[in-house]
């Protein structure tokens, strides 16, 4: 059984693929839990992480903040993070808030994995 509730983590040689489980990341308790689980990743998966957002139809700014904190934490320790498979409405939120210039976003999971492996 997975040690996580809000994320699903699997390894694909050199890259950890993380899927957010919830469609709507909004319930305060779930957002809090998501943040805690994401912040364990830099400890147990310190290298390259891909966040696949295909499940996510809605996320509050509180949930976005959890992703930002993870990005900062991982970058600080020399890791890399990419995001993939954003639904158009979530991509729009990232565009509106200019987070598309902070987060490294790929359309497809396989492209993101390839880029993470090749350090591009």
């Amino acid at each position: 059984m997975s040690e996580f509730e809000c994320i699903d983590v699997r390894d694909a040689s050199e890259v950890s693929i993380v899927r957010l489980v919830d469609e709507k990341v909004m319930d305060p308790q779930r957002v809090q839990k998501l943040g805690e689980e994401l912040l364990t990743l830099p400890k147990i998966k310190p290298g390259r992480i891909l966040i696949n957002m295909s499940n996510v139809k809605f996320l509050s700014s509180a949930a976005i903040n959890k992703l930002l904190i993870l990005e900062k934490r991982l970058s600080k320790q020399g890791g890399r993070i990419k995001f993939s498979n954003l639904r158009p409405e979530v991509q729009e939120v990232f565009n509106i808030t200019n987070l598309n210039s902070v987060f490294d976003i790929c359309e497809a999971e396989e492209d993101a994995i390839e880029e993470l492996r090749s350090n591009t």
């Binding site: 909004m26 319930d27 305060p28 308790q29 509050s60 700014s61 976005i64 904190i69 990005e71 509106i96």
Partner: protein
């Protein structure tokens, strides 16, 4: 002593919003909820269900969802500091064409002009200000009272 703003009559702050409020509403909520995020979330779910019943388009439902989440959670978390003895007043109205909400907390208020623009380079990685920006983008009107403890939001259906 109750917060002085909570004792004010329900007067709109903006003439344009006042005109928009002269409307045949399908459903009206007039609530005082404790500062509990879970109760806030339940209210948001009720509104989303109504929007669906009224066949609001997905894009508008997303916009209202995002803005409601920010307005109500700001009131609960930042305004009332999640003190459950403090209330959040909600006046919300919905029809097939418009959605309006006024959210009032018992906090000291804030000046929305002091909130840094999260889209500026120097603020991009900060974790504040993003909710306010999203409300302003997604809603037709976002108006704060002079105290900064009350916000009115209005969304006009886009299709």
């Amino acid at each position: 002593m109750p917060n002085r703003d909570l004792t004010l009559p329900h007067l709109p702050m903006n003439d344009r919003i006042a005109r928009e409020l002269d409307h045949q509403w399908s459903k009206v909520w007039d609530l005082a909820i404790p500062s509990d995020p879970f109760i806030g979330t339940e209210f948001i779910k009720n509104v989303l269900d109504e929007l669906e019943l009224l066949n609001w388009p997905d894009r508008d439902r997303f916009a209202i969802h995002m803005s409601l989440e920010e307005a109500i959670m700001n009131a609960i978390k930042h305004g009332n500091c999640q003190q459950t003895d403090k209330q959040v007043l909600i006046d919300a109205r919905i029809s097939a064409a418009k959605f309006y909400i006024r959210v009032t907390d018992e906090g000291p208020g804030f000046n929305p002009h002091d909130v840094p623009d999260p889209t500026l380079e120097e603020n991009l990685t900060k974790t504040s200000g993003r909710g306010l920006k999203l409300m302003r983008i997604y809603m037709n009107f976002v108006v704060y009272n002079s105290v900064g403890n009350q916000v009115e939001l209005l969304k006009i259906r886009q299709d």
